[in-house]
């Protein structure tokens, strides 16, 4: 059991080290002649104006919040799904009630226009 996660650990170590080796190899094999124009920001030949890191739309924030709600829901449903064959009637009703609560949440988001993209 624990040795399975040992494999995951080795795998994740190698999955970082091997791409890192490739990138470092590229860094040393390739030429290095930086100049003012080359290091400039590429915006199709037009010089960039103003700051890049500005405020962005609140819409992305809303999508992020709705995502968190549904992702946590899915996380709760996975263990229930695995044990579903052994569940009692009460637990089944509770599960369905839990899912329906989230449907109500989705309908509320829908009515409030959080899912619209203006």
């Amino acid at each position: 059991m624990l040795s399975q996660y040992f494999f995951i650990l080795i795998m994740s170590g190698l999955a970082v080290v091997l791409p890192l080796t490739a990138v470092i190899m590229g860094y040393f094999i390739g030429p290095r002649r930086p100049d003012e124009v080359k290091n400039d920001i590429y915006e199709s030949g037009v010089e960039t104006i103003g700051e890049t890191w500005v405020q962005f739309r609140a819409q992305y924030y809303l999508i992020g919040l709705v995502f968190v709600v549904f992702d946590v829901e899915a996380l709760f449903l996975f263990p229930i799904a695995v044990a579903y064959q052994q569940l009692e009637m009460f637990a089944v009703l509770a599960t369905i009630f839990f899912v329906l609560l989230l449907v109500i949440g989705l309908l509320y988001d829908w009515r409030k226009g959080a899912l619209e993209w203006q």
Binding site: M11, G26, E43
Partner: protein, 413 residues
Amino acid sequence: MQITQWSDALSGWLIGLGLPEWAAIFLVYAVGAFVLINYGMLSVLLLIWITRKVISRIQDRIGPNRVGKFGLLQTVADAAKLLSKEDITPREADKIAYNLSPILSVSGVLMLLAVIPFAPGLIGVDLNIAALFVVALGSIGIMAALMAGWGSNNKYALLAGFRVVAQLLSYEIPLVLSILTVVLLTGSMRFGSIIESQSLHLGGFNLGVGWLGIVMPGALLIFFISSLAEAELTPFDLLEAESELIAGFHIEYSGMKFAMFFLAQFLNAWILAAVMVTLFLGGWQGPGVGLPVVGPLLGFGYFMIKVFGVYVLQQWIRGTFPRLRIDQMMYFAWKVLVPLTIGLIVVQAIVQKLPTPVAVHYVLIFIANVGVLAIVASILQKYFREEQMRTKRSFEPTSLIGTMQVNEEGTMY
């Protein structure tokens, strides 16, 4: 049928040679992980070649055919060229985010290979939470893309980074929920036992065609559509829409760092195809996998054929479909796919507790899935008909769109 894991067999052999147990396990795991990761990084060379060939044929071209037989070595040449390119960091970039994101994006995808079952007994590690592992690692790619967009100090890259977050987050929900339908039916998150449950025994012989995709075509379609979006393929490729954002979030990258993003993208499409095959199309199941010696070899063959088949299908769609607008994409994810998958889960939860034989459960689940399939198909058909009408209208001679227009003063512009 008792399946021996490759790692148990190999470490048992090493212990027999006189190695202590921990050293044997470490050695076997290190070799296994090294082989898997190298397979992942090298198979991309073949995947890119397949993509270029398929898309060329769709566009009535021949595609790469000069370097090597059938142009097979073209991608090797491309990789060698990228290795010799200069590594440019744009001025005032956020160095940490800029340099970390290519490695993060590729390692998140490579780690997924650990739970892909290639053949009976040939699986990196048969984790008992494999489904959750896939879902969890899928989020690392999102973070890497946002870091690339933010760190590049480029407005187009930043815009693309935001779009990545919006798109991938939205389509992750239907993806996760359609995986959940499979877990609910099989009662396991272990990929090994999900595949085991898709066998079909007939008189002691394993036909291996009890695929879940036959019982749940609706969930299969939803998983396929969301996997297209997660792999950033064309109907949903608006995070690197060339005509709007130049090249997306990796616009400022060059050389090996660019290659890493490229690798992650193609490998991600392949791995999502592999997960789809595992969950819905029977994995390595097929006629004759229960046989003693040829069984695992046949299983490996079936798995590869299925995965590359799904991969070619993905690229076919990439070559033929028009790109969606961002509002259409969001609408489709949140107002069509999410309610439908939640509906499927509720129906399945009720059906599986009915006091009837299991065959009746399967029939009822199948009926619900066909309903979902019909709804998604009718929405897609309506959309494509509108799109066709719009395209046709813009080429009609009476229309002013696409022709020279005359303004009120009568001068052409």
